[in-house]
């Protein structure tokens, strides 16, 4: 984006605002990073190091015990592979379906668009609950398969509405000129709408990817076979002991110490957080400028 503002001399008020703004946002950012940092530090601490303080800014006694314990379990790698598969394939399917649906529904001239949208929104309020959903998933043969974490969540109405809103906010002139050039409606989607909507598409992709990565509930419900478990469920299964086993002494000789728990937490969130910079690139671009120029 061209920094036009810089050409004009900035007023004093404007400078003070900038300084205060940065200070405020900086403090907020600090407060939000703190829990992550605390957990990260604990994950690299020994039990003694963890217990010796209630605030953890730096490991007072280093230990890799937690990570060693996690890495020693071969199921970890299978579950990583499953999670990556679910996230990549799931998000791809999500995006194809969501783009198609929201593009069509963004066309206010299309007959029935309002009722169709309403029928989608209706599913956000009303759902059948766990049992009927389980029955459907059983009947279409998805039980115990990683696809149970992909197909039943193929479209999120929430994300679809967000994308539709972006599509319909697009200047009509862009599309009209393309139509005059002989583009079909589908052609407009690929040549005009998609390139111009990159920030919106990135947003929705990010939402989907993170949802897939964090999903453990559908795995608990639909997947018993450990080989098909996603990472989140594997890590949770290491974190939370079943109360009965704890009280009556099942094979869990000990509750995992906090450092080990935090190592598990870190292993679950660091990969997806690393994907950020990739997404972030597309947020800050001045897209309309790009569109006008191109």
């Amino acid at each position: 984006m061209k920094k036009t503002q810089n050409k004009i001399r900035r007023s004093l008020g404007s400078k003070i605002f900038d300084a205060l703004n940065l200070l405020f946002l900086g403090l907020l950012a600090f407060s939000t990073v703190y829990p992550f940092w605390d957990s990260l530090v604990v994950s690299f601490s020994s039990l003694k190091g963890y217990l010796s303080s209630s605030v953890h800014l730096w490991p007072s006694e280093w230990s890799l015990e937690g990570y060693r314990y996690m890495f020693s379990n071969p199921t970890l790698w299978t579950s990583y592979a499953n999670s990556i598969f679910i996230t990549l394939v799931g998000t791809l399917i999500n995006m194809v379906l969501t783009i198609m649906t929201s593009y069509v529904l963004s066309k206010t001239y299309l007959r029935g668009h309002r009722l169709l949208t309403f029928l989608c929104v209706f599913t956000m309020m009303f759902s059948g609950g766990i049992i009927p959903t389980y029955m459907v998933i059983k009947d279409v043969g998805l039980l115990n398969s990683v696809w149970a974490m992909i197909i039943p969540t193929a479209i999120s109405t929430y994300n679809m509405i967000i994308l539709r809103n972006f599509f319909s906010g697009m200047p009509k002139e862009l599309e009209e000129s393309a139509t005059l050039d002989g583009c079909t409606e589908i052609g407009v989607l690929f040549r005009i709408v998609l390139p111009v909507s990159i920030p919106a598409i990135t947003t929705v992709t990010l939402f989907y990817a993170v949802e897939h990565w964090n999903d453990f509930f559908s795995a608990i419900m639909y997947i018993n076979k450990q080989k098909s478990w996603p990472l989140q469920l594997f890590l949770r299964s290491m974190l939370y002991e079943n109360e009965a086993a704890y009280q009556s002494g099942g094979e869990s000789l000990y509750l995992l110490g906090q450092p080990m728990k935090m190592a598990a937490v870190m292993m679950a969130i660091i990969p997806i957080m690393c994907a950020y910079p990739f997404f972030q690139k597309y947020f800050t671009k001045g897209v309309m400028t790009g569109a006008v120029k191109g």
Binding site: I131, N224, Q226, W229, A244, A245, L255, Q258
Partner: protein, 489 residues
Amino acid sequence: MKKFLSLLLSVALLLSVCSSAMAASSIHWLTPGDTAAEVVEDDDRIIAAINEKFDIDLNVEYVPEGSTEKVNVAMASGDFPDIVTGAYGTTATQSWIENGMVISLNQYMDKYPNLKAWLDTYSWAAIDGQHYGLPFITQYSVANTLIGMRGDWLEKLGMDYPTNLDEMKAVLTAFTFNDPDGDGQQNTFGFSGQKPVANFDWVFYAYGRQYGDYELNANGEIIPFFEHESFIPAMTYIKELWDAGVIDPEFVLNDSSKLEEKFFQGKIGAMPHAMYRHVARLENSTKSLFPEATLVYGLPPVGPDGTSFGMNKAGRSGMMTCITAACKDPEKAVAFLDFMVSAEGNDLVRLGIEGIHYTKNGEEITMNEEERSKDAFSPSGWAHALAWGSLYWPLESGYMPATDPSRDRALESIELATAAQKPSLVKQKTALEVEYSSALEDIYNQYFIDMLYGNVSIEEGTAKLCEEWRSQGGEDMLAELNAVYAASK
């Protein structure tokens, strides 16, 4: 759309054909099992031995996180295994029985002696004389919770493990105000517990509470324990501790890890906790910050009468393993369960196959850890993945490998905790108990905290509690319980 639906149907049909085409005596067992057990691989030799013995194809599926909810959902959705293990005495298992989803085992009892012996132990669990599954009540006649204390603190203060309520109060007060950790600061609390209402049962029993579940009034009828004469004095004692500031004021925020953490950090001096296999772990974790720390435990304190004491209640809930109506070969399934509750079966899943997983020299057993690790056995003498969760836990089985370094203390703690265990008046869970008990417990918890915090006086709170408890289903529940109790006498 029709086309699509018919496609769905044909897919479903295809799948069901596939599954029924497999070996005729395939036995599919869905169970929460033991979450921490090893994963059972396809080539597991214990499973193979069972398969060979009964000519079955055993397929044990463990639900993630030991979640009985998942078992309930699968069953309710018509996704029936052949054998299913669910939570005993819940709406879910009750509906399995009511709706004929699980079969009666009575016809098999004569032929299978181990099954019969098991069901005879739980004879009260039969409904109209019919046994619909193998109940397994946790802590049925054995317990493991005691008040654990910092032995080094007691020593430093020149005190002994308290034997009565007055001594207990003195110890907890000294833990709070006499600087037991010697850091010159008043930063310790005597006692803590877990959410929602900590564990103050030892006080109620010291003041004369008798039973694990309910109490009897002068006419021999069942009443809730807070209508018993022991309740108000006990509550007064607890409130005195609270007002004196010796109870961790934030105990309502503690989950089990948080509570342990406070103990390890030397913030609290005493806590009720499961001992048994945890004794060594609790002590060693405390030593990581305080090398001189020790963990001591003992019988709970006696009350003003000098004899009453107690800490643990006889278990009334647990698991139930049933054979579903969908099971194609119930005879084989019964034979397998009979084996699982037999001495031979126990040996197989705990020790393994003789000559491979262990060797026997007279009475002495030597484990072959290398061979055991190839199958789903846990390390250092612990058992196979099939062993725990559905029909046994180590505590109830009194199982402790001879090689365990903390074996003696673990067994000692069980002995003490069991001595402090109180029997139940009614062993089975009645229908209305299943219906109301969680809502009623909720009412009790809230009044307990209100009385403790002083939002309401103990007398007034107790009166209101009784009234509300009875009006929200308690009255009906008591009537039913009294009928069952009278019938059992």
